[in-house]
Amino acid sequence: MTQEFRLKDEGLIDRSKKISFKFNGKKYFGYEGDTLASALIANGVHLVGRSFKYHRPRGFYGAGVDDPYALVQLIRNNETIPNIKATEQELFEGLEAKSVNCWPNVNFDIGGINNFLRIFLPAGFYYKTFMWPKSFWYRIYEPFIRKAAGFGVVTHEHDKEKYEHKYEYCDLLVTGSGPSGLASAYSAAKNGAKVILAEDKPRFGGSLLTSEVTIGNQTGKEWADKIVTELKEMPNVVVKNRAQVFGYYDHNMLVMSERISEHMPKTEKFMPKQKLWYIRAKEVVISSGSIERPIVFGNNDTPGILLSSAAKEYMKVYGVLVGKKPLIFTNNDSAYETAIEFKKNGINPIVLDSRKELNSDLITEAKNLGIDIKFEHVVVNANGYRKVKSADIAKISEDKTNLGKIENIACDCICVSGFWTPTIHLASQSGGKTKFNEDIDAFIPSQSKQNETTVGSANGIFNLNDTLKNSFEAGYELSKKITSKENKLSVPAVVEKKNSKHDKFWCVPLPKGKKYKRFLDFQNDVAVSDIELALREGYRSIEHVKRYTTLGMATDQGKTSNLNGLQLVSNIENKVVPEVGHTTFRPPYTPVSIGAIVGREVGKHSKPTRKSPMHSWHEKNNAVFVDAGLWLRPRYYKKGNETLFDASKREAENVRKNVGVCDVTTLGKIDVKGPDAAEFLNRVYTNAWLKLPVGKARYGVMLREDGIVMDDGTTTRVSENHYHMTTTTAQAANVLSHLEYYLQIVWPELNVNVVSTTEQWAGAAIAGPKSRDLLQKLFPETDCSNEGLPFMGFIETKLFGVYARIFRISFSGELAYEVNVESDYGNFMWEKIIELGEEFKIQPYGTEALSTLRIEMGHVAGSELDGRTTPFDSSLEGLLSKKKDFIGKRSLQKEAFISPDREKLVGVVPLDKKTSIPEGSYIVRDANAKLPNPKLGHVSASCWSVEYNNPFSLAIIKDGKNMIGQKLFALSPLKSKSIPVEIVSSHYVDPKGERVRS
C-alpha cells in the first residue's frame, strides 16, 4: 500500500529505510524514525480503537504522551503487551499491533450500541444500576462489564523480558530536553555540575523540532543538536532519551523509566527491556513543557480531530499529513504555525479563530500566504462516524453565548488549539504549591517545597527569548550553589515571532435544540453533560466530581481534559477556577510496567533463599522442602511412594522408638557477651537468670511490653560473661532488634553486646531413646552419661577433631541432644551422625515430624505464640518470676489478662479417634447452634499422635483448664467438618517429663 499522506521530503524520518508492519492483520509500510501513529496516518489509517464506555471510534488526538486515544495491543517477539500508545511506540521491522476494546473488530464493534444507548449510560450509571441484588455483582454484572471494558488484554504467560533497577546521584536532574531543559542542563554542566538530562521521546529538542525560530545563527533544531552533542561528550553529564521521569518523591528522589529496547524487534541478549532509575538529585530543573488544550464542541472526539500542535509535529517530524482538507480551529496564535505549515506543503487550510480580527506576526504571515481565515467563527459540531467528513461552523457573539447561522463545510481533519497547559505534574508531586495564572488560564508551580525549579513553558512562559534567559540563569545559579564555580555563559540571541493574546474561550455552546455529545475526557468518555449531572446530583468537591464521573482518571490521567473540566465546574458553580482548585497530581505521570517496578526480584530472586550447610545432603536424600521464613527446611524425607502423612509418621515413630536427627541450623542464635549479660537476660526473660551456672542451659520466655509472649528458646551460659541465646526461626531478626533497642536506648548502662551467630553454627538435634548411645559413639572421649551430661547440660568438646558444642535440650520430649559445629563442618557432622547412627536405626526427620513430636508433648510454638497470647494463655505461667521485674511484667496485671475465661491451651482428641481436626477449626459447645455459633476457641495445631496412633490437636479455648474432660465440637466451615471431640491435657505424652531426664 502506498503512503499517500506522506510528504515528499519534510520530516526527520529516514526514507532510505523502509519498514513493514501489521495493524489489525493488514500489512503497511513506514520509515525508520516513524511512530506507529505516524506510519498509520501516512497510510491514511485514522480508526485505531474504540472508546472505553460508548465504544465510539477512536483515532489520534496527540502525537506523544498526551494522546488519550490510540492505545493498542502490541505483539513483539511473540509476546502480547497491552496499553501501548501508538503515538509513542516507535516503528520496527515486523511490528504487529491490534485495536483494543472492540469486538468483533474495530470497524464493526458490537459495543458501539452503547453509543446509541448513551442517554441511559450517564455518569454513575454503573454505581446506580448494578448495586443489587448483591449476589449478581460477582456472577453476572462484573464478568460482563469486565469483558466489555478495558484497554487490551494482559497475557497469562510469564514475562520473559528482564527489567533492571539503577540508583544514581547527581547535582542536577533536568526533566525534558526542550529549549528550557537544554539551556539549563548546558549552563549547569558548563559550570561543573554533574547533570542528568532526561527526554521521554527518542529525539531531543522538544518544541525546537517543530518551531520556526533562530537561536544565535542557527535554526532551533540545529542549536538543539549542537547542545546535545556537546552534552553527550561531557564526562559530567548523562544524557538519556526514551526516558520518562514519572515520579517526584520525598527528599528529592525521582524515578525515571528508560525504555531500552522497546523500539527494537526484540531485546538483545543480556539487555533489559526497561531500566528503572532511582535518582537522588541535589537540585531538579523541571522542564517538562506544556500540552495543548482542546476546545470543546459537538462530537469533538470523532477520528480526524486532533490537536493543532500534533498536526504540526506529524508534518515536521514525520513528514505526514493528517489530512488534505484541514480545518483549523483556534483561540490563539500558535495554530497559525500549523496552518502555515500546511500551506507550505501545498494544502489549503481554513482557519476558524474565535477572536475578533486582529494582527500579529503569525496572523499577518498567514494572511500574506493567502490562507482563508474566518475570525469570530467556531466549530459547532463535527460530522462523520469513523472519520470526520464535515464540520458545522458558525459565527459566535462576542460574549460567546450566541451562535449565528450554521454552515456546513467539508473537511477531513480538524486541528484544534485551545491554548497551552503547563505540565506541572512533577512540580506538584514534589509537594510544591501551585497557583492559577489568569494570563494563561492555567495553573503554574508556585512555592517549592523541595529543591526544584520549574522553567520554560512548564512555568507558563511561552516565548523562547525569556525561556532561554531564565533557563540559562537557573542552570547557572543552581550549579553555582553546588560547585561554587562561576563560569557563566552568555545567552544566545533569539529570533522568534511575537504572539498576540489568546481568547479565554474553551467550550462552544450547543445550538438550540441540539444535544451533541461534547467530550471533555476522551479516554474515559466523560462529556460536558456528565459533569453537569454530577453537579446537579450534589457533588461539589472537584475530587468527588472526578471520582464520580471518572474525569481525568484513565491512563492518560487527564493530560488534555483536566483544565476544561475545571473550567466547566467553575462556570456552573459561578466560581473562578482557583476556587475550585485542581485534583491531586500523583505519580506516575505515565503508566509504568509492573515488570520495571519489580526489576530483577522475580521468581526465586524475589527474596533471598537461606540454606543450611547440610542442604545438599537433604536434597540427595529425597527431602521435600518447605519455606520457613527465608529458609528452606526439609519437611520430610520421602521413601518410595510415601505421602507426607506416611513419611512424617514413620519419622516421628522412629524418634519415639529409636533415634532421629533433625537439621536445626535455622534456629536463631545470638551471642550475648559482657559483664552485665546475666542481669540483662534477667530483665529480658520472664524467669530468673542470675544463678545459671556456667555449662548449663535454661529455657526462657520473653514478653513484649504489652505482656504478650514474643519468643521462647534456650540460652546457655558458655562462660562467665558469655551466653549463647537461641530464638525461634521466625523471630530471630525481631529478637535481635529488640535486644539492641533495650541495650542502646533503655539500659545503655549495661555493659553487654549482642550479635547474631545464626549462620556461624550448623545444628543437629539428635532425639530418641537411643540418642545417648549414638552420642557416646560420636564423642568417645566425652562422658555422655546422665551424670556427665545431665538434662540442660552443656559441654564443649571435639567431634573427630572438630570443635563442637553439645546441649542436652529437647523439643521432641524424648531424651535428646543438640550438637553444634562451625557451619563449614556442618555436612561433616551430619554425615558422621548418619554413619554412626546406622546401628541404632537412625532416620533423619523433617519439620512435619518435628511438629508432631512437639504437639503431642504440648510444647508451644509459633501457632500458639501467635502474638495474641499471654504466658497464662500458653501454660507458661510457671516461668514468671515473682521476685524480679522484667520486660512486660507490669502488663500482666491487666484485668483482661487475668480474667478466668481467658482462652487457655488444652489438648483435643476426636471421639472416634480417627478424624483429623483441621487447624483453625472452632471449638463450640453445640455443633447445630444458631449462627453465629458462640466460639470457645480455636485449634492451633494438629498432628497424628504416633504415641497413641490417633489424631491429636492443641487448642486455645476459654477457661481451658476447667474444660478438661468435656465433650465439645470442632467445626471447620471451610472444610465442611463437624467433629465431636474431647478436651484433654495439652501434655498428651509423658506429662511428667521423665523421658527428657532419663
Binding site: 517545597k449 511490653e705 521485674d885
Partner: protein
C-alpha cells in the same frame, strides 16, 4: 523514599532503616510502683502529631544502631538526627 542521616554512618536511603516509634516515651524504671495510667501511657498512648515528631529509627541494614530522628510527619522534612542519649 526518605534520605536519613545516621549519626554513625552518614546519609543513607530509607530502605536501610526500620522505624522505631515515638522517642519521647521513656520506659518506667524497673521495680517501680506505678499506676495503670502511667503504664498504659508508656505502652499504648501516643500523640501521633501532625508536624514535628521525635522518633526512633534503627539502622537495621547498616550499623544496627538505634538513633533519634526529628521529622515532620506531614512533609517528611528531617530537621536533625541524634544519638540516643543526645537531646534536641
Amino acid at each position: 523514599m526518605l534520605f536519613i542521616k545516621c549519626p554513625y554512618c552518614g546519609i543513607r536511603s530509607q530502605n536501610e532503616f526500620a522505624y522505631g516509634g515515638d522517642a519521647t516515651v521513656k520506659r518506667p524504671e524497673l521495680n517501680k510502683e506505678i499506676s495503670d495510667k502511667e503504664w498504659d501511657d508508656f505502652v499504648y498512648n501516643r500523640k501521633s502529631p501532625r508536624g514535628k515528631h521525635l522518633e526512633f529509627w534503627h539502622h537495621i541494614s547498616g550499623c544496627r544502631q538505634w538513633f533519634k530522628v526529628h521529622r515532620d510527619t506531614a512533609t517528611h522534612e528531617i530537621f536533625k538526627t541524634l544519638k540516643p542519649h543526645e537531646e534536641l
